[in-house]
Symmetry: C2
Subunit: 478 residues, 2 copies
């Protein structure tokens, strides 16, 4: 149930503010299992909308869904050297099943390259079977010490795409294509502007030749990795003997990719757009797009007002809008307004006896601005317009915030000052892990990516003074 | 890849036939993890259609989706006495996480009554918060010794509904409502006629007061439980302190239900409708509803034929049909016909140069019958009609099979003869577990259910000769 306590203010305690919104807007909850969360219906409904839209994009680009086992033999994880190093420490291990000790321990998947690689080897015979374009929607587990609802949890939900190609060029094309799908999705649906580029060696996926990513900026100036796409080269093909007969009749190893986004996107959504009144959601991803609050004082006013409200709801639904009607008796309108603001419904429609008499209703946007009287007849069309305006406005606002918080540092001194205010800081880097590590230890900032087309160095490394290899984009990150 | 070996004949080796179809129609595959299977794209696509349709029905009946942790503390499983007895032997146990031994072992959910009960206790305060109507789509694990693709696997996918109510009457209504949803779904979408009724004490869900079920008959005369709906009474409410303030201001325990269907429905579909040529799917659940095979001999015939085939595909898609075009060069038409028959596409459309000239195409149903020439212009509308006819025909055929294989046994001798031929056998039963056990040991038949409105006894128990309590419905079952 909603209550009327205020939520923590964003500028007082950002992480308390975030937690208040997640809990009070009933998106998620803590569970009795350490590090694992519960996705409550309003949070899960956002995930369903994310799934529906991404799934359409995946299918349009030729991918098919499949499902592979949750449990992975320990020996599989060990077959690719980098992969096991990266993931073994994070795994949950099943040692007993059916009342007996297992001969070989099974890991709960932290990601499925290994077991999918094993199956690909079984399925592929000839170049004619390629490309294999598979996606899986599932749960994964990575043991986490410090967790945070949606953003970092031991179990999370995600999709993992896994593809196999005849040539490295085709695999690379796929890696870029899917990063593009993620970027378009984040910007169009989540109203989340993102930068894109490649990870440094130290931030790369364990077992990949190259990891591309999209990164978004949150309101507190921290970056959030919002999607990754990996060129796995022939690493997994060699580890799992994924061979096929090529056009020349010879046997060769396939080239594979993988790419994923997770329920952490829900955390990104919350952090990118919300305010001190609570959750703010882009209309295209909001499970409830408009709420109608009928207003009456005298008992005899209720039936005609509610009847008109129901008609409005029907008209909204006919337009394809997710429309709620809040005709609860036990709460006053002011209480309902607060509750739906906290819960992030983009548009509220109020209707009282006088509105009914003058055949109008009143629109109020979650993002502020004046109330707007609208004739009942044109209300649905107007709400559709307003929702679209809000979607654009949220994107523009997030983009402006990012632009205002993206700086170039010409010296390490300047970098240290800038990083305290948050945001993306672009600076020359000598390309060594040593320098990267030093910056991380001294400032808690990491290289988020080497941005596509924007990472040519402009001078010597800000830290070492050695030759600059890249203009890298740094930030403190979630 | 499809190949042209024949599949095992149904009347020679039913279970070999079933396995051939699952593997050769590329619905599923064995995995390297004992007891766990891979859902290949064509099998998973059936699950997606099952999900979409059921999900709509769940939402129409007021339910919301949510997601709860995969891992359940061992102590939770122990809180309800019957529940732990039923499920503990089947559980997979996580003992290590993040490189360390866990303080308390975690079980991978075999079902989620316990952890959802814990959360319900947190969320419910007053009768105003009720009913709570939640559903979860997820994976579950139950250690199985003898597994079979789709029908019985250690990990499977399912939905589990969990609801909480103010009164027992409301909970019972819910249990019946959801059984009704399952029955309608099975009959309308899967073309699977089912009987419905309640389980005996020995077949009841561990922790339930009463388990209702739907049961379908496969072509080999064995029954398959296709969905269950449980009245959990206050068992879990008491074990997990799910209390609320009632209308009278006093504290009381809630009444809960749970209900589920799983990916075993895919196995049911395969077994109920397929034949010696391979998979047969009801059109409403078929991921590919119509396949167009263009036919040409001379190279110059290919472009005009394929162009017309593409136009047909576009027209089919416009009608909302899932339409494939098989214009592969490397296979002959006959090979393609066999492959799509094996793979269960309900309607094949052939088009060759002479058809193009006379502005027609040829329809062939997967379920047999003559080919039918149809003008190109009306082809899409005709395919829609034909698909609907096939859907009805498959249901009628399955119903006729069930009717022909449902018998009443007036003596145990007759029962033993009848059960050898398979089917549902209805017989008087004295209501004791002892008799039930004896029948099971001697004939391998179990009581599938006490059918709604049809379980009044008509005489003494066929086994013990004691007073008949029920006219029970027996069968050998999957």
């Amino acid at each position: 149930m909603a209550d009327d306590r205020k939520i923590t203010r964003r500028d007082e305690d950002y992480s308390g503010w975030y937690q208040d919104i997640v809990l009070r807007a009933a998106l998620g909850d803590y569970s009795p299992v350490k590090g694992c969360m519960v996705f409550r219906p309003r949070g899960y409904a956002i995930w369903e909308k994310i799934q529906a839209d991404l799934d359409r994009r995946f299918k349009e680009t030729g991918h098919q869904n499949a499902y592979f086992p949750l449990l992975i033999p320990e020996s599989f994880m060990r077959k690719e050297a980098e992969h096991v190093k990266g993931f073994a420490p994070e795994c949950a291990v099943v040692t007993h099943g059916g009342g007996a000790l297992l001969e070989e321990p099974l890991m709960i998947r932290p990601t499925s390259e290994t077991i999918i690689g094993y199956m690909f080897a079984k399925w592929v015979e000839s170049y004619r079977d390629l490309p294999l374009l598979i996606n899986q929607w599932c749960n994964v587990l990575r043991w986490e010490m410090r967790t945070r609802l949606f953003l970092r949890t031991t179990e999370f939900l995600w999709q993992e795409g896994h593809t196999l190609h005849e040539t490295h060029a085709e695999a690379k094309e796929e890696v870029l294509r899917m990063l593009g799908v993620y970027k378009a999705f984040a910007e169009e649906m989540l109203a989340l502007p993102v930068i894109q580029g490649r990870k440094t060696d130290s931030e790369r996926f364990a077992g990949a030749l190259e990891t591309l990513c999209i990164e978004a900026l949150m309101q507190d100036g921290k970056a959030l990795q919002s999607g990754t796409s990996h060129d796995l080269g022939q690493n997994f093909a060699k580890a799992f003997d994924i061979e096929f007969t090529g056009r020349d009749g010879g046997r060769q190893h396939g080239w594979s990719t993988s790419w994923g986004v997770s329920t952490r996107l829900i955390g990104a959504l919350v952090m990118a757009h919300s305010d001190d009144q609570g959750l703010v959601l882009p209309p295209r991803i909001a499970p409830e797009q408009v709420v109608i609050v009928p207003i009456w004082k005298k008992d005899e006013e209720k039936p005609p007002v509610c009847e008109e409200a129901r008609r409005l709801q029907a008209a909204f639904k006919e337009r394809g809008l997710a429309a709620l009607l809040d005709d609860r008796d036990q709460f006053k309108p002011g209480y309902k307004f607060n509750e739906w603001e906290l819960r992030g419904v983009p548009v509220r429609v109020e209707i009282g006896p006088r509105d009914v008499a003058s055949r109008q209703c009143v629109l109020k946007r979650r993002t502020g601005g004046d109330k707007e009287a609208v004739p009942l007849l044109g209300a649905a069309a107007r709400v559709v317009e307003v929702l679209e305006e809000i979607q654009q406005q949220l994107y523009a606002r997030a983009l402006a915030l990012r632009e205002a918080n993206t700086h170039v540092a010409s010296s390490y001194g300047e970098f240290k000052e800038l990083i305290e205010q948050g945001g993306f800081i672009r600076a020359n880097w000598d390309g060594t892990a040593e320098t990267e590590e030093k910056v991380k230890n001294e400032t808690k900032a990491t290289i988020r990516c080497l941005e596509d087309g924007r990472s040519d160095p402009t001078g010597p490394c800000m830290v070492s003074g050695r030759e600059g290899k890249f203009l890298a984009t740094f930030a403190r990150a979630y």
